[in-house]
């Protein structure tokens, strides 16, 4: 079956521009997560959604970052006024909330963001 998909796979932008990263989770997965992988910080948790709700936004690095999810499916991570330190691979994951492999998160291929 289809896994988690993300688009674009690569994004190069200029400092100060806004970018939108998209995640399409596995069908039926109610939980969706965003992580960031960078050389300096490793893999860090950003935000999660239960349905369309994001109860805790404290993991987002700054107020330039926002995320939304609509229809309990696709999610968009938006970075406004990008800075060079935003350069990283942004990974999306999704999971069921019950089942044999409880809460196991399945990761998408990531979006590599480069801010020039």
């Amino acid at each position: 079956g289809a896994g988690v998909s993300q688009s674009p796979s690569n994004k190069v932008t200029e400092k100060g521009k806004d970018v939108e990263l998209r995640c399409d989770p596995i069908s039926g997965h109610t939980a969706l997560y965003w992580y960031r992988q960078s050389l300096g910080q490793g893999l860090e948790f950003l935000i999660y959604f239960q349905g369309n709700s994001a109860p805790d936004k404290s993991g987002l690095p700054s107020d330039r970052f926002s995320a939304e999810r609509t229809g309990g499916s696709v999610s968009t991570l938006t970075i406004q006024r990008t800075q060079q330190e935003d350069s990283a691979v942004y990974l999306c994951a999704s999971s069921y909330l019950a089942g044999v492999r409880y809460n196991e998160q399945f990761f998408g291929p990531g979006t590599r963001l480069t801010v020039l």
Binding site: F45, D56, L91, A93, E104, Q105, F107
Partner: protein, 114 residues
């Protein structure tokens, strides 16, 4: 603050040898995950360990969890070149409504030489 520490961070070994990667974490959790990442690729789930004493094996890899010691190990038996990758452990913490966030270790870059 939760910390997840792996060691070693870099491991170069010969085919046929055995080795162990260690994952220590600082706060109580009974959910420990191991992932593999190949260069330029995403994370592939290897093992899910959900209780103290859990042991899982897949081919030449075996993972275990000791929640009292807050330690998980990933043991490689008779390594082969195809196992070269970066391995991450991650500790799961339940957030509200049953979702959990993963806190990752730094990763162990494993290189297996012929």
């Amino acid at each position: 603050e939760l910390k997840v520490e792996q060691n070693p961070l870099f491991l170069s070994m010969q085919e046929g040898k055995n080795y162990t990667i260690y994952c220590n974490y600082s706060t109580t959790s009974d959910r420990l995950y191991w992932y593999r990442q190949d260069p330029g690729k995403s994370l592939e789930s290897l093992f899910v360990l959900l209780s103290n004493g859990a042991v899982k094996q897949e081919g030449r890899l075996m993972a275990s969890l000791d929640t009292k010691a807050r330690l998980s190990t990933l043991h490689i038996t008779a390594a082969v070149h195809d196992l070269s990758a970066t391995y991450f452990c991650a500790v799961g913490f339940i957030v509200i409504q049953g979702a959990q966030k993963l806190v990752f270790g730094q990763g162990t870059r494993l290189t297996i030489n012929p």
